[in-house]
């Protein structure tokens, strides 16, 4: 069980950083979103449910990225978020990234959470604050579109 901020950080900071980098597509924005996510987690400690720290962090991170984008553009939705492939992931992820860019509203974050970050549906739903059925549906639709785009 995670009992300290340090354990939370050491267990999850890499994937959270990778996640916000993929959503923001910009290093400085990702850097800020990562910091804001963990500061919010420390301030909001303890997690609402023990053992679900990961989903909790994804939810905070998703909201932080949306907040940042909203502040910059007044109004955005998930679909407006940029999505970049980290350079070192190579060509296939870059192709995937451009395919993901075709995804409509609501499906992009769901796709990244499930297919790129590997969260289970309970955690995807938790991160997006929607039902598991809705999460499944978004991921399924997104996956279909990404497959078509990558053909």
């Amino acid at each position: 069980m995670i009992t300290t901020f340090g354990e939370l950080l050491e267990q999850h900071e890499r994937e959270i950083f990778a996640y916000v980098l993929r959503l923001c597509g910009d290093r400085d924005d990702a850097d800020d979103a990562y910091q804001e996510t963990f500061l919010a987690a420390f301030r909001g400690w303890p997690p609402p449910r023990r053992g679900q720290e990961r989903a909790w962090l994804y939810r905070i991170a998703t909201n932080k990225v949306i907040d940042r984008a909203r502040r910059a553009k007044r109004l955005v939705r998930l679909a407006d978020l940029k999505l970049a492939a980290p350079e070192r992931d190579g060509v296939s992820l870059a192709d995937l990234a451009s395919a993901i860019k075709v995804l409509p509203e609501g499906q992009r974050a769901a796709f990244v959470l499930r297919r790129v970050q590997g969260l289970d549906y309970a955690d995807v739903a938790n991160a997006l604050e929607c039902s598991q059925d809705a999460a499944r549906q978004r991921v399924a639709e997104a996956t279909k579109k990404v497959r078509e785009a990558m053909r």
């Binding site: 300290t4 340090g6 354990e7 900071e13 850097d31 910091q35 500061l39 301030r43």
Partner: protein, 199 residues
């Protein structure tokens, strides 16, 4: 990706410190005895643990005393890390960093304070440390208090031996105790130092 993370993490730690979200900062250093996990709280060193990670029990003790704000922070751990480096390089015989024994029981505090007065190169016994702490008959309890010393090396419980001069016990393992004693006063003779502890 790694450099990127390091920078981001440093900035995060600085902000956490400024906001008072960090109560204890920790770091892992290399030593001749292997990695040491060191933790520094608001009033000084709160823990030194043999190994790169603290045990669940050790961490639980720190969280109970200082809350969950236990964060990696090499800067905070630097002063004690520096003194440990100097000690292992043979350039320091006494530690100057403050230690925080406040979460311990009064008895543990007295035993560890008595232990802290055993100088580099000297050894003592569980009975003598117990007597110094004002509980002459409590040598078994003294042994237990030393066995759970949260700040080994800096609070030199390795200098406390059984009354017959044999090594007794050590949280970091008897090899570590032997190494520290050999380093401070030459090789440990087979069978220990028979009854000539100097303090």
């Amino acid at each position: 990706m790694n450099d990127l993370m390091t920078d981001a993490r440093e900035r995060l730690m600085a902000r956490a410190r400024r906001e008072g979200l960090e109560t204890v900062g920790y770091s892992v250093i290399d030593s001749p005895l292997g990695p040491l996990w060191i933790a520094v709280g608001p009033k000084g060193v709160v823990g030194i643990h043999y190994g790169a990670e603290p045990s669940a029990g050790e961490l639980g003790r720190i969280v109970r005393a200082y809350g969950p704000g236990v964060l990696p922070d090499a800067r905070r751990a630097d002063p004690v890390a520096r003194e440990l480096d100097q000690y292992f390089a043979g350039k320091r015989k006494r530690f100057d960093v403050a230690v925080d024994l406040s979460p311990l029981t009064d008895f543990q505090r007295r035993i560890l304070s008595a232990t802290a007065r055993v100088a580099f190169g000297d050894v003592s016994t569980y009975a003598k440390v117990a007597a110094r702490a004002g509980s002459e008959k409590a040598m078994r309890a003294a042994g237990q208090a030393l066995g759970s010393n949260p700040i080994p090396i800096v609070v030199p419980c390795h200098r406390v031996l059984a009354s017959d001069g044999t090594l007794g016990g050590y949280s970091g393992g008897l090899d570590a105790k032997r190494t520290l004693l050999a380093f401070e006063r030459g090789s440990v003779p087979p069978g220990g130092w028979p009854n000539r502890p100097s303090s």
